[in-house]
Each structure stands twice: as structure tokens, then as C-alpha cells.
């Protein structure tokens, strides 16, 4: 299953490292990363593959959400189909 991880918030040192470490902890393969500043917000989007993931989707979602809270960011993971459905015919 492919999913999109989005990280939005105020830029600071170590965001990418922390999120990537979490991915590695859960054996989630990162397919693509892009990051930019949009409307003054740090925005990082990762396309990931959960084929080999070591935990169920819900647990990973909660862990990322908690990491976000700790770092003062919004971190979410959503299945890719929802973006495909809305943006491609």
C-alpha cells in the first residue's frame, strides 16, 4: 500500500531526520521526498510504501501524529488513493 506523509508547520532543524527515523523504525520505504516553504509554512511531502511495514496503519498514524505534537508540527499519513481520486481522471 502506498501512502502520502505530509508534514506542515514552522521550519526548524531536524524535522526531516526525525520523520525519516520514524519511517525506518516502522520499516516504511520512502519513495519520494519533496520539501518547500508554502504560504510561510514548512511543507514536506513524502510518498511511502507500506508493503514491509512492521505495524498496522492505525498505529503508524498515531505514532506520526504524536511525533508531530512533540515537534509542534502537523504530521499525517493518508492512503494515496484519496489524492489520486481528487486530482487525476
Amino acid at each position: 500500500m502506498n501512502a502520502i506523509v505530509s508534514v506542515i508547520g514552522r521550519d526548524k532543524v531536524g524535522i526531516c531526520a526525525a520523520v525519516c527515523t520514524k519511517m525506518a523504525d516502522y520499516r516504511i520505504n520512502i519513495l519520494d521526498i519533496s520539501q518547500t516553504i508554502m504560504q510561510g509554512n514548512f511543507t514536506m511531502i513524502m510518498a511511502v510504501d507500506l508493503e514491509q511495514a512492521s505495524a498496522p496503519f492505525g498505529e503508524i498514524r498515531d505514532a506520526l501524529s504524536q511525533l508531530g505534537e512533540e515537534m509542534g508540527l502537523s504530521i499525517r499519513i493518508q492512503r494515496q488513493e484519496i489524492f489520486d481520486a481528487m486530482h487525476s481522471i
Partner: protein
Amino acid sequence: MLTQKEIVSTIEMIDRQHLDIRTVTMGISLLSCADADAKAACDKIYAKICREAESLVRVGEEIEREFGIPIVHKRISVTPVALVAAASECGDYVPFALALDRAAKECGVNFIGGFSALVQKGMTAADEKLIRSIPEALDRTELVCSSVNVGSTRAGINMDAVALMGRVIKETAARTQDREGLGCAKLVVFCNAVEDNPFMAGAFHGPGEAEKAINVGVSGPGVVYHALQGVRGEPFDVVAETVKKTAFQVTRMGQLVAQEASRRLGTPFGIVDLSLAPTPAVGDSVARILEEMGLETCGTHGTTAALALLNDAVKKGGVMASSSVGGLSGAFIPVSEDEGMIAAARSGVLTIDKLEAMTCVCSVGLDMIAIPGDTPAETIAAIIADEAAIGMVNNKTTAVRILPVPGKQVGDSIEMGGLLGSAPVMPVHGESSAAFIARGGRIPAPLHSLRN
């Protein structure tokens, strides 16, 4: 390949523009539950609903988590109870409503719809029994919603049923007066009711439907409003195109959720209802969309035209996004559930007469309107007759969900909380319609041939 902008735009729609799936509604046929013994029928109804909808809420929540899209309500619609209860020998049908309520609570859903009767051409003994049971049923249950279809383009308007519904609405308000007549918020009177509507309070699983189905209602006024802010001052062609594109995106999401829910629940996919369903939250209002088109206040001259454009563009955009479109499909204008409508009604610009005109061009009808508690039953019946006439002649669904709030006068307002919102009590005409309603009988179906 998805771009970063596309991903962020979806996240913003959900986070800041109130994009959500308004409801995943499981339709369940209860025709197999008919029994001469009313208690046995109620037991079968309870058991069947609990069996079929056991996983509905859990699956809905799983989809919410995995896709990151809120599903506000999980609901159940059932066969109009008058059809099922007709086989049972009993004095009233309140026990059937209690069985539905118990089943809905057991399944954990937000509402269950289908305490209903279809009487557009005439009433069976069971239909009449059901209608007379509505006030007590809505008083003694929490989650049950009721609807009665009193007219259709093919059958005309059953004016005996219209008159009866005027009295039933008054009685329902009186029985629930400790809750500001809240029972009436769960009661809809239809013309041309649809069989696959996922929205409450008018959802039921029509007799022409399969054993069960998953129907999904989308939302998205906030998304449309936001998109229109980007084309301020542009011609209406641009406005229509913008609404269409937005409706397409919103509906694609609804289609995805519907398919996913259908697959996980092992229940055939029914329809996606392309409706713009507002909430009382700021930024999630249909009225504000109309105002964004250039109207100072919703309800002023131009409102009907603006709504006509919006309603049509929503359908055009949505219809290509789903493999099966149905339900009510259009912009809803429930006064108490729409922050902009509430403001417009409070200011006196939006009146019942204007709302009636608006219902000619949108889905569905006079919805969630509080009126003075001393409004006569005949006046309420006449309001229903007017709405039904609009639906009958124009081949569309219309409905009345009106709350004559006991003890309240024009200038007062009521608070219902949650998605039901708050409503200023709106004035109705004081001149009597009693002699008109007393006639009874049927208004014949309109001529829809001789088109040359």
C-alpha cells in the same frame, strides 16, 4: 504523479474548508421481517439491522483513519415501516420505532431513517396508522427519523395526507416541547421522495431497492466558497466552471469512500449523493457561497438565480465523478444548519416566501425552519401543499421540515445544538388557509404531455 500543490490543496480542503463525507448510509430492506405478530416483527427488525450493520461504524472509522477524511455520520435507512408493519395486527406502530431506535443504538450509528409511509395517491390502513404514530414515536425515540411522501408528479398531491401531516407536525412539536419541538427536526414531508437518499431526516430504503446498499452523501460548501473567492468579479461562466471543477473533486472523494465502504462491508454500492450540505460552522455555508457571487445578503433579489447556477453546476461537476449518482443531489438550504442562512433570516432579508422560491431551483425544500408555536395546523398543511405543488409540477423532489416551536414567537430563537444548529423563529402569513385545507381529496397530477 501527484504534485506537492495538489496534495497540499486536498489537506487544506479537509483542514480549513470543512471538506468531509457527510454520511455513509447503509440501506437495509426490512420486507423479510413482516409478521402477523407485531412483537415477532419488531424482534426480526432488530435482529436484521444489528446483523447487517454490525460493522458499519467500525468500517467507517477505519476509512476515516486511513484516508484522513472525516466521515461525519454513519447512518442506516430501512424500508418504509408502514410496508413492513402492515402485516402485523396492532393498534399503533410505536413499538416498531422503538425497535429501530434500539437497533440504531446497538450499532452505534447517528440516525436511522425509514419510519415512513408513501401515500402520494392514497393511504392504506397501515399508512394511516404509521402517520398517527409519528408524534409518540419521535417523542419516545432518539435516533429515529420519519418521513411521509404526500405527492408525486405522476400521482398528484394527496390533500387528505397533507392536512393530516399539518396536525401531526403540531402534535409532534407539542409532545417534544420540553426539547423546543425537536421531534419536528426528525420529520420530513416529501413530494417525489427518492428511494436512495442517504441524508436525514428523509432517508429510507425504497421498495425498489436491493436487499442492502451503501449510499454516500458528500459535503463541501466551504470548498466551493473558497474556490469562488479566487474568481471574484469574473463572469458567471467562470463561476459555473469553478463550481463544476470543485464538485468533481469532492464527488471523486465520495465515490472512493463509497467503493471502499461497499467492499469492506460486503454490501453493494448504491449511489453517491452530490449534495452541498452545509453545517452551522463558519465557512461551511451555502448562503455565503451565494453572497460570494455578489449578493449583499442571501435572500435579496438575485438569490434564486445564484442558487440555480450553483445547484446545476454542482450536478454537472459531480455526475462525471461518480459511476452512480442518486439521492437528492443538489444544494441544501436548511436554515438552522447554515450559518449564513441563520444570519440572513435574523436580519429579516431571508423570508419563508423567498425560501419557497429558492426551492424551485435547488434541492430540497423548506428545511429546518422555526415558525411560531401558535401557527395553525392548517397553515402548516398549506405550506406543505405549496412545496408539494412545486415538486409535482417541476418533476423534482421537494420537502418540508418545519418546526412550530411551542411557546415561541417571531423574534425568539431556538438552539438545537450540533449539526442541527440554531434558528430564529420566522414569520408566516397570518391569513387563514383553513377552508382550503378542509376540502381534502387529491390535487390531480399535472399534464406532462401535449408538448408540441
